[in-house]
Amino acid sequence: MPIFELIFILVAALTLGAAFLVVTSKNLIHSALWLVVALFGVAIVFALLNAGFLAVVQVVIYIGAIAILMIFTIMLTRFITQSTGPRFNTNWIWALIISFLMFGGLIWIFNSWPGINTQLPPLPADFDPIRQLGIALVSPNAYVLPFELASVLLVAALIGAIIVAWERT
């Protein structure tokens, strides 16, 4: 089997296994750490697709900010080490059947799409993805308007957080 497919299968197995353990882990901190492993697997998939920038940004933002914030919140929860009851309810057979049906349906849809067997085209030697991304984000024919709107949304979230946490003396 070609080395690329082998590496991809290993990474996908790592990501899916970690994601499964996030949901089924008894300890909440363990779930958060398995989530970190799953996000790391996604970063590796980005790197396999030659999107180095996205891989590193995934680590910085998801693992470096979001996962740490989740762990911080979990650490501040009370009674965290006590038992939370049974992890599976009585409907797990139906959940399994429906998820397998959905998986089969998605596989069938992807197989009937003609583009699934195209090979990855080789990138030109002087292809600079970061430069293209930078130009696309600020060029008026490309994505400058969604970029600015996303920035405004972030500023609104920041101001909202400050107002919510402001101590009225």
């Binding site: 300890n27 901190i29 363990h30 750490l33 970190v36 180095g52 920038f53 590193v56 940004v57 680590v59 910085v60 693992i63 470096g64 900010a65 996962a67 740490i68 762990i71 911080f72 650490m75 501040l76 600079d128 970061i130």
Partner: protein
């Protein structure tokens, strides 16, 4: 013989291909050998850093430091490491065993991962990532995770407090660090660390001194060294997140912190002091390694100097310093540098450098002026005479004091 490492690599490659191995496997073997070589050299330097640290702290504190074992105490680190290795390996009861043992490994591993993108010479570097700067930020984020794991898994209130303080400090100080890291990227037009070094015909310390100072301060905060060492404040939270770690696990934390300090020195010299550049470093590449380590040790000395001079900072002062002082200055300096770079891009080098320097001086002057007026208004508010309950106690003459004491 000016580039011995490449020569050795070539010879090894020809030797292994001559043995009949496929070229893909030969490449993988050479990469693994290179990683092992870098790792071993760094860990050996780390042991030497124990000696450097203890001697220099002694000199700062006007004493001699270790001088019994070996000439000038050079065998002392071996004794230190032996002591740590033969100590009993304790796991506290109720601690999360797997995470407890994983945390020191992550703490040391993330420091060694940083050396993957630092260029040693023009031809010798781990990996020429075109997003090298962002990779450094990402590894810093993972190191924060290691410390949180250590604090939580110890099942100790003081360790948990230390871990929570760590999250607050490290996540906060990443913000001005990332903003300031944009300035060498801006000046070099590339995020690749090797490109940034190649473009530094004039050191970026001269073009962006405020950015260099802010990078140094935020890196010291990310390290967890004094004055930002409230993560392991012995007088407050009894060694913080590594209170439950003994023996070699504590040794990994300790060695990791020292190596991280040297790594910050190497990063600072790569980004702002020209890295491996120096006289004759283009013709004789192996000199680049020497220059890089000299600069890294000079910055490491400055970091130690700050550590052993300045007292520990309080946590609310630290957070105020970050969000109310460093982040606005970082943003202003970034905007000013970007604007000036666009305006002055076609001028001669002399005009460019003078323009940048003058802009930095103006930003620094304005900041100091604002701080001074702020301090003056605060002082005026505090210095006002306030009404007291018993005015006879307010004066400091002895007669009124003796009469008030007899009246009690």
């Amino acid at each position: 013989m000016s580039d011995p490492v490449s020569l050795i690599g070539q010879w090894l490659q020809n030797f292994l291909i001559g043995l009949g191995l496929p070229s893909g496997l030969v490449a993988i073997i050479l990469i693994i050998l290179a990683i092992l070589l870098i790792g071993i050299i760094l860990l050996l330097i780390d042991i030497g850093l124990v000696w450097v640290e203890r001697k220099i702290v002694a000199r700062f504190q006007d004493r001699l430091g270790p001088n019994r074992l070996g000439p000038f105490g050079l065998i002392q680190p071996v004794a230190d490491i032996l002591k740590l290795v033969i100590k009993e390996d304790i796991t506290p009861r109720g601690a999360d065993r797997f995470i407890y043992n994983l945390a020191p490994i992550i703490a040391l591993a993330t420091v060694m991962l940083l050396w993957a993108v630092i260029p040693f010479t023009s031809t010798l570097l781990g990996s020429d990532l075109n997003v090298g700067i962002l990779y450094l930020v990402a590894i810093g984020a993972i190191s924060t995770l290691g410390i949180i794991m250590a604090g939580w898994a110890s099942k100790n209130k003081y360790a948990l407090l230390g871990a929570l303080r760590t999250v607050a400090q490290m996540v906060s100080y990443e913000v001005p660090m990332v903003i300031v890291l944009l300035i060498p990227v801006l000046l070099a037009r590339s995020m690749s660390v090797q490109q940034i070094v190649q473009e530094q015909s004039l050191w970026y310390l001269l073009l962006a001194p405020i950015a260099a100072i802010i990078f140094l301060i935020t890196s010291i905060a990310e390290l967890g060294r004094a004055p930002f060492d409230l993560l392991e404040a012995e007088s407050e939270i009894v060694a913080g997140f590594h209170i439950e770690y003994t023996g070699m696990k504590f040794g990994l934390f300790y060695a990791g912190e020292l190596l991280h300090a040297l790594t910050v020195g190497a990063l600072f010299s790569t980004l702002f002091l020209g890295g491996w550049r120096g006289p004759f470093s283009d013709q004789i590449p192996i000199l680049g390694v020497f220059y890089l380590f000299v600069k890294a040790f000079i910055v490491y000395f400055i970091i130690m100097w700050i550590r052993y001079t300045v007292p520990r900072i309080r946590i609310d002062h630290m957070l105020n310093f970050n969000w109310k002082f460093l982040t606005p200055i970082a943003l202003v300096v970034l905007i000013v540098t970007a604007l000036l770079d666009k305006i002055l891009v076609d001028q001669s080098t002399f005009v460019y450098v003078t323009g940048m320097l003058i802009a930095n001086v103006i930003v620094a002057w304005t900041t100091l002026a604002i701080l001074r007026t702020h301090a003056q208004t605060k002082r005026k508010r505090v210095g006002v005479d306030r009404p007291v309950a018993r005015p006879e106690l307010a004066s400091t003459t002895p007669t009124s004091a003796s009469t008030s004491r007899s009246g009690d």
